[in-house]
């Protein structure tokens, strides 16, 4: 394979990374629907990615709901519309915050761990060893992790939504004395199926992104232990960047349906 430059060295390497990523993406779908699914490994990854992140997500969601409510109150109080706090907070949480907070937390926790784990397996030649022992490392390592993150991050997002709404309720009930039923009736009044659907689509997309980016970075790690660190770091940075890009695109598309 010749090292001939097409544009500049960095530009060429960027385009090459995009191409490799695209091929990795296609290979995932090929491997996912071919052969027997590694369910044990999938459950193990669901446990590691989803369950292990539940406490962190719950805590973050609770704080997000409570702080967002607290920060929104003065603006609404200026119009004498503090009774709208449940609607405002629920719209914000369901439409954007829950999915985004879950994804960002998971990209930090899960993405980096996948990148580091696969990277270390790559540099210690464990992946090569699996190939030698007639085990498909891609199916066993990548497909299970990507599927696990794609499945568990939406579920974490539901938890995050519920806990964030509870945080918001706590703040509202302490300040306005609103009852639980009144709060949740008011909160769900303004939420539509489109909001829930959009949120679910976002969470699936974010989960898939976190998984595939982490796996790609780890699976293709080079240069020994230094490569492991780079893979973990790149997993977080790139997945976060892609999450925001996806956020913009999905919001645009959902607004099209909303109108």
């Amino acid at each position: 394979m010749s090292k001939e430059k097409v544009f500049t060295k960095s530009l060429d390497s960027s385009f090459l990374a995009v191409y490799n990523g695209y091929m990795f993406f296609l290979r995932f779908f090929r491997e996912a629907f071919r052969g027997r699914m590694e369910f044990q490994e999938l459950v193990k990854q669901c446990y590691a990615i989803g369950y292990k992140a539940l406490l962190l997500i719950s805590l973050t969601g609770f704080i997000t709901g409570m702080v967002f409510t607290k920060q929104s109150r003065p603006s609404l109080a200026e119009f004498g519309a503090t009774s709208w706090l449940p609607s405002l907070v629920s719209i914000a949480i369901v439409r954007a915050l829950a999915a985004l907070v879950t994804a960002l937390i998971c990209s930090g926790k899960v993405g980096s761990s996948i990148g580091a784990e696969l990277g270390s397996m790559r540099v210690t030649e464990q992946i090569d060893a699996m190939e030698v022992s007639a085990v498909n490392p891609f199916k066993f390592l990548v497909v299970t992790r990507v599927l696990a993150s794609t499945i568990t991050i939406p579920i974490l997002m539901f938890y995050c939504t519920l806990v964030a709404l509870l945080g918001a309720f706590l703040n509202v009930t302490l300040n306005e004395g609103t009852s639980f039923i009144a709060f949740f009736e008011n909160a769900f009044e303004q939420i539509t199926f489109l909001d829930i659907g959009t949120s679910l689509v976002k969470a699936v997309a974010y989960g898939f992104t976190i998984g595939i980016v982490g796996c790609y970075q780890g699976y293709n790690a080079i240069k020994g232990t230094e490569g492991v660190g780079k893979a973990a770091n790149a997993s977080v940075v790139i997945s976060m960047f892609l999450i925001f890009i996806e956020e913009v695109i999905i919001v645009q598309v959902s607004n099209y349906f909303r109108i």
């Binding site: 446990y47 989803g50 499945i151 939420i191 539509t192 199926f193 829930i196 679910l200």
Partner: protein, 342 residues
């Protein structure tokens, strides 16, 4: 190892089930809020302007949510057909002659359809019915009225500004009143005078009160005047007699005037001669002087007669009789004097 895997699988299963449960509960809650799962009938209304109403907005009847807006479509020029889903359990309360209008949930909330009115005699709405609509003033129209009010308010405040400026500069009656010290002093003095006058008026009122009390006192002259009808009749009679007297006096004065004029004009009559003729007057005066001297001489003669022995006895007898009569005469004189004094 097997136990650990099993435990992990159960944990993941529970984690997924609870997550999906949250999702399902959320969906059902929203569904019940939006009346998605409730059986409903479809009615329509045709508006000229839907003010940004959207499918999914709520339908209220007497402040209770009974359905949602299903579909909005143009029917004709400036005619928008709005299809409403109304839940079946609320159907019986909405009558065919009920009306629909577009309102807002709160001051700046979402648009809603408000169904109102309807009479008990009219049957309940059915699937496919059309509700009459009532046009309400849009926010823009209300803002236009507000804008007009603002202009009026601006005009009023400008006028007040001019007035206050004039007052500050001492122009006009109010301005002078506020700024001119001389006028203030005058007003102050006037007020002091008024105060004094009011005190006097108070005193006068008190006097009047006393006076009227006396007037009302029974047996008083004024009270008799006011209340006794006999006195008034007597007074009228007296006044009538006085009038007659005055008439007689008038006639008498006229007669005296005529007499006087006659005396003045007729100088040949005896009285006229007495009044006007100087020669006669001097003669009369001389006669009177002669009469006086004659009287003196007669007194002397009478004294002489009293001394005469021929008449002395008569005079002594006369003196004795006078002495006897004098006490009775004196007492009678005294009585008459007393009567006069009374």
């Amino acid at each position: 190892m097997e136990t650990s895997t099993r435990k992990r699988s159960i944990t993941v299963g529970l984690f997924v089930v609870v997550g999906i449960l949250i999702f399902v509960v959320g969906i059902l809650t929203i569904g019940s809020m939006k009346k998605v799962f409730a059986t409903s009938i479809s009615v329509k209304s045709i508006f000229h302007d839907v003010n940004g109403l959207k499918p999914g907005n709520n339908v209220w009847y007497s402040g209770v949510k009974i359905g949602t807006v299903k579909k909005i479509r143009f029917l004709d020029n400036e005619q928008v057909e709005v299809m409403l889903n109304i839940e079946e359990k609320s159907q019986e309360f909405v009558r065919k002659n009920a009306k629909a209008k577009i309102s807002t949930d709160g001051l700046i909330g979402n648009k809603i359809i408000v169904i109102y009115g309807g009479t008990q005699k009219v049957p309940a709405i059915e699937d496919g019915d059309q509700l009459a609509v009532e046009k309400i003033e849009s926010t823009e129209e209300m803002l236009a009225v507000l804008s007009e009010n603002n202009k009026n308010l601006l005009g009023i405040t400008s006028a007040f500004k001019t007035i206050s400026k004039n007052i500050l500069e001492g122009k006009g009656t109010v301005g002078m009143l506020l700024n001119d010290e001389r006028l203030y002093n005058d007003v102050d003095q006037t007020l002091a005078a008024l105060k004094k006058a009011s005190v006097n008026a108070q005193v006068m009122t008190a006097s009047l009160s006393g006076f009227t009390a006396k007037l009302n006192e029974k047996g008083g002259l004024a009270n008799d005047f006011a209340t006794d009808t006999v006195i008034m009749r007597d007074i009228r009679a007296t006044v009538g007699r006085l009038n007659e007297t005055v008439s007689s006096a008038n006639v008498m004065v006229n007669n005296l005037k005529t007499t006087t004029e006659s005396l003045n004009s007729n100088k040949t009559s005896p009285l006229g001669v007495l009044l006007h003729d100087e020669k006669t007057a001097s003669n009369l005066k001389g006669t009177l002087q002669n009469l006086e001297s004659s009287t003196e001489k007669l007194d002397e003669n009478m004294e002489a007669l009293r001394s005469n022995f021929l008449f002395r006895r008569y005079f002594k007898k006369k003196a004795k009789e006078d002495a006897k009569q004098s006490p009775a005469t004196e007492s009678a004189v005294n009585e008459s004097v007393k009567d006069t004094i009374k």
